[in-house]
Symmetry: C2
Subunit: 412 residues, 2 copies
């Protein structure tokens, strides 16, 4: 770990010098954001000449900041040589992700080469207070670092995923899942106590970052994410950045009003998309029919086994989501829509009706469009831990932040 | 005009060299996009030192490309010296804007200092064919240049505003106002025949560009425009660029479905926002009551004079628009919403109910937010000719295009 200690302090220094634009700085930032890259990919990302990248990489390898990574096949099925890649030294730095859940915290630690080292769940209880979350986070981080023999001095930053709109400044507004956190500045709270840079974002925005960095949207710059679970969440990624909105309320697709005479929503409005496109009502209905608590997973399993009632519930969710996506498409007309969340595990039983109603309600129909002008709907890669992964992603992406412009509709 | 001829060819050359990054090029691009600027503003826009800007400006003035502009008061009511500004030489180049209207073309010509020189309307007839539009455009441009003693060789580009979604490539998809134009590539059609660079965009996107360059959104980078007229149009400006979407369908707010049981819309869907937030139905109802054709202007005038029926029609439009904007806000949460179109001439009678219903349906209420996190709703500056002005703006903005990144959700 001696190399680790030296390379950590040098890495921290390089990352702190965000205004400096030497080839070394540019390469370190690119690797921080991307994980593993070939020399050719580094040339493209940094706009540097091949020879410049070679010299800088030799220097970075000598000082232990960059190492060769496992050679990966990246041929997309075509013949050709697999590319040799480099990455930041896993010993040079670690990041922590925290997802504030209903009754506790989920944590993970990852290294700067984008490998998840370990995960941990700390139960608290429903409606836990901010100071309890903070205490649990401190204990969880200590446990993760101790049990994996990691040096706490290697911690580069902590990303926090929150089930509520969060302002760009870190203030939690609507705390439907965490009522006692309303009005709390999570960024300030955690950075005062945990002595590390803190990054906060809404859980669906974190989910989008996970899909962007390692999932179905890898290599995409512009897409919309719709997360179908017990609620409906969403995110907008534009030019590689998550759009947050002036109050952190962008991508709150679940609370678009799609029926003026619809039922009352937990947010206080009527006819929100979430009421018909989430699995909350299906779970309630199935629980009533079975006379015991049911779940999203059970409904999907029943539907897969041919239960007509379960199939109808899944199909109705898909139809409502498709209508909602058509309205979102009238606003954004995105090139790609990623459907994720536990509801997406229903696969074609959900996506089929979703696509049918999307097309039915879309202003510009696919048949009128050349293939390159059509919106593509595809499944997300992650269903359960995307928000936690995205929380780590917040930190890893911050390492490369000076590379990408982030001025779009008040993105972070 | 001798200076004009010389400076035009030099200006064209400078503008063609989009990859070249000398101070001279940067200053010419900034002035092309902004019109008139102080030396201090040029330093900020180009990131150049004051002395560098001084030297380059002296050079540009010597060659007749840049001239001093009329000194304008820019103190926002505070005491202080008015700033001395410079602009591109009005004689150095001209641009044409064309708005394809229902029964003919509206044209204007402007110079590179952002002054409108003249306007012209050429009637054709309803459902005119593309070749008729092209013939009328050619004749109109000749007439405008002849009657204003302008040299055709000074024409830098033509911007065309179209009442339909337009793909980034220039293809017209849905041609609700111009049925015989469906599928036509307007950019190709006009550039083949008019021998000038052609820029095309949707009319609401052009309206947003007019507000951005000279109107209520001057100096803003991120806003949403909602245009209330006989239809409902919209546009999204993100980081200073209009978002067009993968098929040119972004900002089509009028066709968000806000009522699954609503009436049939001309687009083929049900319950579109346009059905309740536009003045089409109010005009139909007032015409039926009066027994003769009424108009937006008449309804607003009647409402201003106290007619309770007219007031109700205006107020209902505002309420529907407010509900629609709340849904748009759940998607984008923009810092600013500009309300424009002829309907906006109703002022507080429309905006009052609009703001009330917006707040009523917004996910995050203003009262929960610090002032800097609130969405501000304000009136547009233009009501009638914004699309035509924006068409000219398309050309003027292209002059500075290499300055601004435009990769956001497939913006132009």
């Amino acid at each position: 770990m001696k190399t680790g200690m030296m390379s950590t302090s040098r890495l921290k220094q390089l990352l702190d010098e965000q205004q400096v634009e030497t080839p070394i700085h540019a390469i370190v930032r690119a690797l921080g954001g991307e994980g593993s890259m070939s020399a050719a990919a580094l040339c493209r990302a940094t706009n540097l000449a091949k020879s410049t990248v070679s010299v800088a990489l030799a220097d970075l390898k000598n000082s232990g900041i960059v190492v060769d990574s496992v050679i990966r096949e990246r041929n997309n099925g075509k013949a050709g040589r697999p590319a040799r890649e480099v990455q930041l030294n896993p010993n040079a730095g670690t990041c922590v992700g925290i997802h504030l859940e209903l009754e506790g915290l989920r944590l993970c630690v990852a290294d700067v080469s984008h490998s998840i080292i370990d995960e941990l769940y700390i139960p608290i209880h429903q409606d836990y207070a901010p100071f309890q979350g903070l205490t649990a986070a401190r204990a969880g981080i200590e446990k993760l670092y101790k049990s994996n023999s990691l040096a706490r001095s290697h911690l580069l930053g902590i990303g926090i995923s929150i089930s509520s709109p969060v302002t760009p400044e870190g203030v939690i507004h609507k705390a439907s899942i965490l009522p006692s956190w309303a009005g709390v500045n999570a960024k300030e709270l955690f950075s005062n106590e945990l002595n590390a840079p803190i990054f906060t974002d809404n859980e669906s925005n974190c989910a989008a970052i996970a899909e962007l960095m390692w999932g179905s949207a890898a290599n995409e710059k512009d897409f919309v994410l719709l997360k179908i679970d017990l609620g409906v969440g969403g995110a907008i990624v534009s030019n590689g950045s998550v759009i947050r909105g002036i109050a952190g309320g962008a991508g709150e697709f679940g609370h678009m009003m799609i029926d003026p005479h619809g039922a009352l929503c937990r947010c206080g409005n009527r006819g929100c998309l979430e009421l018909t496109a989430s699995f909350r009502e299906p779970v309630q209905q199935m629980s009533a029919i079975l006379g015991r608590p049911s779940s999203i997973d059970e409904i999907i399993l029943m539907a897969e086994r041919g239960d007509m009632g379960a199939r109808r519930l899944v199909s109705n969710c898909g139809q409502a989501a498709g209508r909602g996506l058509a309205a979102i498409c009238a606003v954004l007309n995105p090139p790609i829509i990623i459907v994720s969340g536990r509801g997406a595990l229903a696969g074609e039983m959900l996506i089929g009706p979703l696509k049918f109603e999307f097309e039915n309600h879309a202003l510009i129909k696919s048949a009128e469009l050349a293939a390159e002008n059509r919106t593509v709907i595809k499944m997300g890669k992650f269903t359960h831990n995307d928000s936690l992964l995205g929380a780590v992603g917040l930190v890893l992406r911050s390492l490369s932040s000076s590379l990408s412009p982030q001025l779009i509709l008040n993105s972070p």
